[in-house]
């Protein structure tokens, strides 16, 4: 493995991590051979902390957590380590894992309507979670289900218990999902694109709810999202994933103010914003490579504008970004590209001018 000799290898302190994922790999059996989807992912979350996991479709941001919980099925070979509160999860039998799934580790998904059972009433579904994880039945379960619905901001909770998912709006269904997740009193909530299917004003409601619940219960959260705005809004720390690897990790502040990896810089440059000058978006050329056809060396090398021969020599590992002890990136050319500012604000808003010209020309 080749990387810049100057780089300090990033070693996280093994302090009070609630979950500590090290070197997690996932290989999918696709018939005659295996394709590696995760190439040694390291992630960790402290109690009460929100880790934002960003990346584009197929980067492995969801698979990481499904692998941790053993939810990938028989076609996937998982290795590496995922220690949850001192207990190794990788290699546990499904029966052993049920002690964690939905209980101490809860999951909510993007599309609440398909995560809920359409033929059962809301109340029954929450009560099921309460029975499985807290041993509550009958009246106690019903009362607790009502309290949970109330807690997640559903008005008229007692009546809603008797309704079916199709009778509720998308935002309400997501609240129901959150209520079910809370049923197990989780230490870790994995929220996989929890607001992606929701409208902007509803998204704001759900994010506020998650924030309040976290402050109240001190649960840790893995917030998986492709929306950098949501991540910036919610996360304490952020891991950026690309093609099955974590390629940058930092506090949310550092990541958005001083992104180091060319891919992270690219993502931020590709984002339209509501403030500031309107400029042409800096699209990252190309597309995410297929897991079976990664370029040699750095997986981002074929889309990177800073690519050099050294980038093809081996996959770079996470190294500390100069002068910051909680900021690491997997790029061998960090030193060389460090000084190149994100040229966003400095760019004249060419687009706006051309556009104005176009319109005048047409209207005249």
């Amino acid at each position: 493995m080749t990387h810049s000799g100057k780089q300090t290898i990033f070693k996280p302190k093994q302090q009070d991590f609630l979950i500590d994922v090290r070197g997690l790999t996932v290989d999918f059996d696709i018939g005659n051979h295996y394709v590696r989807a995760l190439h040694g992912v390291d992630l960790s979350i402290r109690r009460g902390e929100t880790l934002g996991v960003v990346g584009e479709s197929g980067c492995g941001k969801s698979i990481t957590w499904l692998a941790v919980l053993g939810l990938l099925g028989g076609g996937a070979k998982v290795s590496g380590s995922a220690r949850f509160d001192g207990q190794e999860l990788v290699g546990l039998t499904p029966r052993q894992l049920t002690a964690f799934r939905g209980g101490r580790i809860a999951l909510i998904f993007q599309d609440p309507a398909s995560a809920l059972n359409p033929v059962h009433r809301i109340g029954r579904q929450i009560a099921e979670a309460l029975r499985l994880h807290r041993g509550l039945t009958g009246k106690a379960a019903k009362e607790e289900a009502r309290r949970l619905l109330d807690r997640v901001g559903i008005s008229n909770a007692a009546q809603r218990l008797n309704e079916y998912p199709h009778e509720l709006s998308g935002g309400m269904n997501q609240r129901v999902m959150i209520a079910m997740a809370l049923a197990g009193e989780p230490d870790l909530l994995i929220a996989d694109e929890p607001t992606t299917a929701l409208d902007a004003t509803i998204q704001a409601q759900i994010l506020d709810l998650l924030r309040d619940l976290q402050a109240e219960t001190h649960m840790a959260m893995a917030l998986i999202s492709h929306d950098l705005g949501v991540i910036a809004d919610m996360a304490d720390r952020v891991s950026v994933m690309y093609a099955g690897r974590v390629i940058e990790e930092a506090s949310a502040e550092a990541l958005f103010e001083r992104p180091a990896h060319p891919y992270t810089r690219g993502l931020i440059g590709a984002l339209p914003d509501i403030d500031g000058p309107r400029h042409r978006l800096e699209a990252i050329p190309g597309a995410v490579p297929a897991p079976s056809a990664l370029p040699p060396g750095c997986a981002f090398s074929d889309r990177c504008s800073h690519v050099e021969t050294i980038c093809h020599k081996g996959p770079p590992i996470l190294g500390l970004v100069g002068g910051e002890d909680d900021h690491s990136a997997a790029c061998v050319r960090l030193d060389a590209i460090e000084d190149q500012e994100l040229n966003l604000a400095s760019q004249p808003s060419k687009l706006v001018h051309q556009r104005a010209g176009l319109q005048e020309g047409v209207e005249a």
Binding site: E56, S57, S169, G170, G171, M172, D199, A200, T201, I202, Q203, A204, Q205, L207, D208, H226, D227, L228, G229, V230, I231, A232, D233, F256, G266, L267, I268, G269, A270, L271, P272, D273, I274, D275, G276, R278, R280, L281, E282, A283, I284, P285, A287, V288, L351, Q354, R355, L358, Q359, G361, V362, E363
Partner: protein
């Protein structure tokens, strides 16, 4: 007129679109954005009112006249996989508009043109015989765009064209649309729930709520100094990476009401943080001053022209109902 089972998906919407202009249409699901798109293209008959394209009324029946007009009005959909035929290679789908309208020369010529379109939208020639499922989301959307551009339309209706795409791909597609627009000069009705995307693309923006336009104006004005309380909430709820943690976000309570049962008065009043008694009874009309328009009792005319925005809920200038 209104019977028990009427759903007014779009209620008295008026807008115009200059040649080469991009009008952004924002709003939440169910606000009538997509219905507006379909009405514009004559895919749906309006209960009242009309759509005029280049001086001619767009018929909503499948007449030859409609077909001729539709050649100049194309659509880009949110879900490219749903908009494509899974059983046809993409090159044939891109060339299909030529076949339908009987133009583009021989089969070989059509194929050549389709290949040129593929290059124009950034697809590789070797992907010509691929099927939609073999392509990524971004590539599929490029196929849809190529097909829409095949007939050199003068109006492009884009319904959430990048909502299903990843950030880096979204930027590619937005840049592509912008380049193509500059090159071919089409007008566009650009529908999105994402204010940032609309700001990037639109020359003018209209905000819809429950089938009505509640605010309209240049994107910079609408997004930076919104007049309508709904726009204010929408803008404040848009997550941004530029340090907006704990800022003055207006979180609206409740969901948008069922459009079958639109609240009386101002349709927004049950969720409006600054509504007053009048809002429950009087329907506000969309009033215009200069290039801005707003439909709110509280966003009054400010003496010397222009509007004053509705009061910010956190200012507590008015007591909520």
């Amino acid at each position: 007129m209104v019977t028990k089972a009427t759903l007014k998906a779009v209620d008295g919407v008026s807008f115009d679109l200059a040649r080469g202009e991009v009008l952004g249409l924002v709003g939440e699901s169910g606000c009538g954005k997509s219905t507006t798109a379909r009405l514009t293209l004559g895919q749906l008959p309006p209960s009242a009112g009309e759509v005029i394209f280049e001086g001619k009324t767009v018929p909503s029946s499948r007449t030859q006249q409609w077909r001729n007009l539709r050649r100049h009005m194309q659509m880009i959909y949110q879900d490219p996989l749903g908009a494509l035929d899974r059983r046809l290679p993409i090159i044939e789908q891109i060339a299909e508009p030529y076949t339908i309208h009987g133009i583009g020369g021989s089969r070989a010529e059509r194929r050549e043109k389709a290949q040129a379109l593929m290059l124009q939208v950034g697809l590789r020639p070797d992907q010509a015989s691929s099927y939609p499922h073999e392509l990524s989301g971004g590539q599929r959307q490029r196929v849809v765009i190529a097909r829409a551009l095949a007939l050199e339309p003068r109006l492009l209706v884009c319904d959430e064209p990048v909502s299903a795409l990843d950030v880096s791909i979204q930027a590619q597609v937005l840049n592509l649309l912008d380049d193509l627009r500059r090159k071919t000069g089409f007008s566009a009705l650009f529908i999105s729930h994402d204010l940032k995307v609309v700001r990037q693309m639109a020359d003018r923006v209209a905000v819809m709520y429950l089938g009505r336009i509640v605010e309209e104006g240049p994107p910079e004005d609408v997004f930076h100094a919104p007049l309508h309380p709904y726009t204010q909430a929408l803008v404040s709820a848009a997550p941004s990476i530029h340090g907006n943690r704990g800022r003055n976000r207006i979180v609206l309570s409740g969901d948008p009401p069922n459009p079958v049962n639109v609240p009386g008065g101002c349709p927004f009043h049950p969720r409006c943080p600054v509504a007053v008694v009048r809002c429950r009874t009087d329907v506000p009309s969309l009033s215009r001053e200069g290039d801005r328009a707003v439909s709110c009792h509280l966003a009054g005319s400010a003496g010397g022209g222009g509007f004053s925005p509705a009061p910010h809920p956190k200012s507590k200038a008015l007591e909520a109902v």
